[in-house]
Symmetry: C2
Subunit: 167 residues, 2 copies
DNA sequence: GTTGAAAAGTGGCAGAG
DNA sequence: CTCTGCCACTTTTCAAC
């Protein structure tokens, strides 16, 4: 990876926090809040994008509004000679899989799945289980969210340095 | 919930897709791509924000760049009389918990946790297990991502209607 | 950090569906 | 009546200095 030391200072972290809260905040507004001019903020943002500290800007959408009303996590168990590379291919073939990762523990991988409803989820699960090297799966259907993560991927609690700012 | 039928048409879905891909895309650019003027796009975005189809704009940040190099999912088992409301409070007290939800299966809840490193994660886990009504936890430490979810929260595979557009 | 030109955002208004 | 494009006017971006 091209991850330079990057050395973010406090101003950088405040800029990131502002942009995570609202990716469309103007540089001028961010600058006013932290005592910097708009171009200065832009230069820092450009630098952080270059350093891949900031990997992109996205929009949070209510999944249910788009018709995805069922969410689940699925543990996947593969047979002994399961190549992780092969798993990555499979994962890309099912559009309902929104995240996939290898994990410690008994399971080989953990999938995050979004489906229209339970019927659709069952169909997805059957499709995944039909893969030759998959031995078994264990599903955890999400009932309700206790913490509405702002944007699960980008969201990080705070900065390791300062544990003070809890939301 | 105030979820109106909302009835998104094809243009709305294309606008959402464009904004999910890049929340800072100009309305003019989106309009040019779908055959609409900039103000027309803005009107639709405003309407979708009002209807809470679009819940916000955020920035994707490399967690490791901010010092969060350890990621894990933790199953939480509570004692019989565990009130979910109480769990929600606890979850908010630990800034390292980036997502929490109740799930089907043996466990009562599933937590997504980000920590600086394994040592930090262990400390967080001990803190959580110290809660009086938590019986046990099972941790799945994330080793590597097979699918780099654009932004896990907002990301949805495609529209249930058209299963054709797979990335 | 400041300046200035180009681009984007935003609200009013009239017309088409 | 809703949605659109057009037109001013304001704000923001961005590449100079």
């Amino acid at each position: 990876m091209t991850s330079h030391p990057a050395a973010l200072d406090d101003l950088d972290r405040k800029i990131v926090a502002a942009l995570v809260a609202n990716a469309r905040t103007s540089f001028a507004e961010i600058g006013a809040a932290i005592g910097l001019s708009a171009p200065a903020v832009k230069r820092r943002v450009d630098r952080m994008r270059e350093a891949e500290v900031i990997t992109g800007f996205t929009t949070m959408v209510s999944p249910s509004a788009l018709g995805w009303r069922t969410e689940a996590y699925v543990e996947v168990y593969c047979d002994s000679a399961a190549p992780p590379r092969r798993l990555a291919e499979v994962v890309r073939d099912h559009p309902e899989i929104t995240a996939a990762m290898t994990v410690t523990g008994g399971a080989d991988a953990l999938l995050h799945i979004r489906a229209e409803d339970i019927q659709h989820f069952e169909e997805v699960l059957e499709r995944i289980r039909a893969e030759p090297f998959i031995d078994k799966t264990i599903s955890y259907i999400v009932l309700s969210h206790l913490l509405s993560d702002s944007a699960e991927a980008g969201a990080s609690p705070a900065t390791p340095a300062d544990e003070t700012n809890r939301r």
